[in-house]
């Protein structure tokens, strides 16, 4: 393995900026621009109320992303657990506030921004797990006992998020964790065991689900059964997509979207509007750009020389992938509606910020790809 000169001598800010993968940033900007165009359309050809604010949030996010990328990866590793427990604390706070406020609560209102801890948890969980597995050898990972701590790290936020209740985020957390466990080298049969256990627990989970969640799953299985009720969203979304055809109805001319048959067109169903107005060509193009971002992330991960950086890169890329997949699959009626936004395109503050921070970590890993990170925080290298 190549031992770079940056190994010992810290890089200057200028060197670090030069090292940022600007191709990845370029495609992130492209995705945001597409989001802006679609939000402009969703606002009936107006920058208000969504498109302008989308740009502002992106710019804030861009700043945070660079800040995260510039920070030494070892600092992040050192504070990974701290950040994790901080956000876990916020999740508990939200839960407590929800109990007091007598109702479901996902937000902490900071006045300027409504903070959604569950979104941030998607990042901090990756950090915490990456740190744990960074410090564990393959042999250790092979032992089942060593999986207890990371399992608890995963279970705690999931339980809290489910209680909110936010099934979509819980599933996202679980799958992201799964990706890291898998990449870290956890034996495959253990995944089989967990999947088996989850399937076995299904009936129990079913009884614990809220009525609207059950409805969503039932109508997903048969949307035509209730076209004016819960199945309405799925039906209308499929109609919008299907009627878009190969080349679409033209920008600002989606009848389903602009006549309000399509619900939530600025957030969860923005892909539907895109595919209605630009057709399959537009949809595939967007999917292609997402694929490019993912490919870059994989390329970065393979070039990073520390396990921590590799794991956070593909962990966050995994989260990103699940966002894209679940959202698009959901609007096309392949999975139940769970309320997952389309990354960088959907309107939504916290998701945008947490994604940008996430990309900051990927870039950070790339910038510090040759930094040797010790097994343990205190130890430097050994």
């Amino acid at each position: 393995m190549r031992v770079g000169s940056a190994d010992r001598e810290p890089m200057t800010i200028g060197q670090k900026l030069w090292q940022v993968n600007w191709f990845l940033v370029f495609f992130i900007i492209i995705l945001t621009a597409i989001g802006c165009a679609m939000l402009y359309s969703a606002g009936e050809g107006s920058w208000n109320p969504w498109a302008t604010r989308h740009i502002i949030r992106f710019l804030i996010g861009l700043f945070l992303m660079i800040m995260v990328a510039m920070t030494d990866i070892r600092i992040w590793m050192r504070h990974a657990y701290t950040l994790y427990f901080l956000v876990l604390g916020l999740l508990i706070a939200v839960e407590v506030m929800g109990v007091i406020g007598m109702g479901a609560q996902r937000w902490i209102d900071l006045g300027v921004i409504q903070l959604q801890p569950s979104e941030i948890m998607k990042i901090t969980l990756v950090l915490a797990l990456a740190r744990y597995f960074h410090g564990a050898s393959l042999e250790e990972i092979g032992r089942s006992t060593s999986l207890i701590i990371p399992s608890l790290l995963v279970a705690a936020p999931i339980v809290l998020v489910i209680r909110q209740p936010d099934l979509g985020t819980a599933i996202m957390l679980m799958m992201t964790a799964g990706v890291i466990f898998f990449l870290a080298g956890v034996r495959t049969w253990k995944f089989g065991l967990v999947i088996g256990a989850i399937l076995a627990a299904m009936p129990l989970v079913w009884t614990m689900l809220h009525g609207y969640q059950k409805n969503r799953i039932l109508t997903f299985l048969n949307p035509e059964s209730d076209p004016l009720g819960a199945g309405y969203h799925i039906m209308q979304s499929k109609i919008a997509l299907g009627s878009g055809g190969v080349f679409g109805k033209g920008y600002l001319s989606g009848t389903q979207s602009h006549l309000n048959f399509l619900p939530e067109k600025q957030t969860d169903f923005i892909f539907t509007m895109l595919a209605e107005e630009f057709g399959m060509v537009g949809g595939l193009l967007l999917l292609g750009i997402y694929a490019i971002v993912l490919i870059y992330s994989f390329a970065i991960a393979l070039r990073v020389h520390n396990q921590f950086g590799r794991l956070i890169t593909l962990g966050i890329a995994g989260t990103f992938f699940f966002y894209v997949f679940i959202n698009i699959a959901m609007v096309m009626g392949l999975v139940p509606i769970v309320g997952v936004p389309l990354p960088l395109v959907s309107y939504g503050g916290t998701a945008m910020l947490s994604l940008m921070i996430g990309f900051g970590f990927i870039l950070c890993a790339y910038v510090h790809r040759d930094v040797r990170v010790g097994r343990h925080v205190s130890g430097g290298e050994d």
Partner: protein
């Protein structure tokens, strides 16, 4: 450590490849799904999207008018000014309603209905506040428009009947479509589903409904998910209904109504003897056809259906009456045709005849003495007809009656026509399982007993007698569409099977009734020369006169309760020479035919002759139907 990390890296790389492969596969599924939805099933979803956004709205066609024979409207459409409220355009619905209430009074229950409808509907759906506004109210609202946000005035069409309630039976009325109408409709018209659409429910409106209705237009509207109209995509105007031109003359119809109006219950029919066209047809009491259009209250409906005078029944075609002496022409013709009596042969009337141990009376207690056919008709002697009906037999009488249009429906263009009854022994056997009694033939011979006719049938009978043609009554003269009048094809009328000689004898008898001093209807003759009518009165008993009554004193009609009074009937044709019109008048429980019904018939007939479109001027200024020269 180095080795360890390298093995970790190998494992990581391998698993990253697997992960990447999995992600590619899942993206492949998404792309495949896109292909499925946007290429394979696209046409289906395109259709669904259009169904979503395009809403078809029917445009109701303008209903055709009903015109009289000269084109004067009898039923027409009036502009209906409605005031509507669109909730989203006003800040405060209650306040606006109150402001409006100061201009036009809104009763409390209406106020509640309006608020309820506003709550129930979406904000942009207009709610009707009041209909049929007059100009004063409309202008009052328009002047204050600035204080009434969300209040709009809208013009629709509403059916209007300029004639009074006595013509309601003839024209009928229109009303909202009922569930039953929808089920019974075979035209497949989507129009019937249209809220607020009106169809003909009786009279000409019902009979000619399909012609009058027209064809619906439609408008394709783009609507959003809430149903709000965004824009009109296309519009296809409907085709207004055809105007229907009747054979009725409004002037004569008005006179008929005028003459019947003060009677409790009566009907009159004027008919063209040569064509069968109905010139006037009236029935009292009537009802207000406009009230049905706007909707009756429960109480109004109860009152109208429970009224013993049956205002909803068109007595001219549905009222069944014993024809009384107006039936004597038929009996006489049967007797003459079968040779059971000769016209000059005399029969003695001593006030009654006896058959078995039953006694049949003449209306004239002490009898008429010797009478021939002409005299018997002139004075309406009952025993003469007892005698000849006994001779000719009931079957022959019934057969003659049917030949003259009695005993079955005439087939006029009006709903609910009834056929009346020409009784025969076979009918009685079938109906009651009892044999025919000889006495019943005698009773039938003076148009009483089982014999039942409608006023229309009596007019048909008189027409056939006067013209010698088997005319069928009809009301439709033609259809006006696209500017031109298309006359309805009238099949050529065949002659009736009766010798002219017999017919003339009877017509002479009727002339004697009206125009000779001893005739029963002499006081009710038309005195103007050339306009004379020839008629026959009839007074049909409703209640049998008891033996006790006969021995003491037969009560005068006005001394009896109304329900027990006799029906007054009169049939006539005019002019005496070359008859053109026939008339039948029935006044229910009116009393004597010659005193009550005959003057009415005379007045209507006189007006009819004066209004004859061929310019008939009486005997001194003949301009007959062929328009030949005038005599000086």
């Amino acid at each position: 450590m180095y080795r360890e990390d390298s093995s970790r890296y190998k494992k990581f790389s391998r698993r990253a490849m697997i992960l990447g492969g999995g992600q590619v596969a899942l993206f492949g599924i998404l792309a495949g799904r896109m292909y499925q939805l946007q290429v394979i099933e696209s046409s289906r979803y395109k259709m669904l999207a259009d169904e979503n956004r395009i809403s078809m709205r029917l445009l109701p066609p303008l209903r055709g008018r009903i015109l009289d024979r000269f084109g004067v409207p009898l039923a027409t459409n009036k502009e209906n000014y409605r005031v509507l409220l669109i909730a989203e355009r006003t800040r405060d619905v209650k306040q606006t309603l109150d402001a409006l209430g100061r201009l036009i009074s809104i009763p409390d229950h209406e106020h509640r209905r309006i608020l309820r409808e506003i709550r129930k509907r979406r904000d942009f759906v207009p709610v009707t506040i009041q209909e049929n506004l007059d100009w004063k109210k409309v202008s009052r609202i328009e002047v204050n428009a600035s204080d009434l946000p969300g209040v709009v005035i809208d013009v629709g069409q509403i059916r209007q009947y300029p004639l009074g309630s006595e013509s309601a039976h003839l024209l009928g009325y229109v009303a909202s479509v009922s569930e039953k109408d929808k089920k019974g409709d075979r035209s497949g018209e989507p129009l019937l589903q249209l809220p607020g659409f009106r169809i003909g429910k009786s009279g000409i409106e019902k009979q000619q409904d399909l012609r009058l209705r027209g064809k619906a237009g439609n408008s394709q509207l783009e609507v959003n998910a809430l149903g709000r109209v965004i824009r009109e995509l296309s519009r296809q105007e409907g085709q207004p209904g055809d105007d229907v031109m009747l054979t009725v003359d409004l002037g004569i119809q008005n006179v008929a109504i005028e003459k019947l109006r003060d009677k409790k219950s009566a009907a009159a029919v004027v008919m063209d003897v040569n064509t069968g066209g109905i010139i006037a047809l009236a029935s009292v009491p009537g009802y207000d056809p406009n009230a049905f259009n706007t909707g009756l209250t429960r109480k109004q409906w109860r009152d109208i259906t429970r009224d013993p005078l049956a205002p909803l029944t068109n007595k001219a075609v549905s009222g069944l009456y014993a024809p009384g002496s107006t039936f004597k022409m038929v009996v006489a013709m049967a007797a003459l045709e079968h040779g059971v009596i000769k016209p000059e042969q005399k029969v003695f009337c001593r006030g009654h005849v006896e058959l078995g141990n039953e006694r049949f009376h003449c209306w004239k207690r002490h009898g008429h003495g010797w009478l021939d056919l002409n005299g018997a008709l002139q004075q309406s002697c009952d025993p003469y007809f007892y005698e000849i009906s006994k001779r000719v037999g009931i079957d022959k009488i019934a057969e003659m009656g049917r030949r003259f249009g009695l005993g079955r429906v005439t087939g006029i263009d009006l709903p609910n026509e009834r056929g009346g009854l020409m009784p025969t022994p076979a009918w009685k056997k079938k109906r009651f399982g009892v044999a025919w009694q000889k006495g019943e033939t005698l009773i039938a011979g003076i148009g009483q007993g089982f014999v039942l006719t409608t006023p229309l049938q009596l007019a048909v009978m008189t027409s056939r007698l006067a013209s010698g043609k088997a005319v069928e009554p009809h009301l439709i003269q033609g259809v006006v569409s696209g500017g031109g009048m298309r006359p309805l094809e009238v099949p050529s009328v065949p002659d009736i099977k009766i010798s002219a000689e017999v017919r003339l004898l009877i017509m002479n008898g009727m002339n004697a009734v009206s125009n000779t001093q001893r005739g029963t209807a002499y006081p009710a003759r038309i005195k103007e020369p050339g306009f004379e009518l020839a008629g026959k009165s009839g007074t049909s008993q409703v209640k049998r006169i008891s033996k006790h009554e006969r021995e003491t004193r037969v009560l005068k009609n006005r001394e009896r309760p109304w329900k027990n009074r006799d029906h007054a009937l009169f049939v006539a044709f005019a002019p005496v020479e070359k008859p053109r019109y026939a008339i039948a008048v029935v006044v229910e429980h009116g009393g004597g035919g010659s005193t009550v019904a005959a003057p009415i018939a005379r007045d209507i007939m006189h007006e009819t002759l004066k209004r004859d479109p061929s310019g008939y001027r009486g005997r001194d200024g003949v301009a007959d139907e062929k328009g030949k020269g005038h005599k000086a």
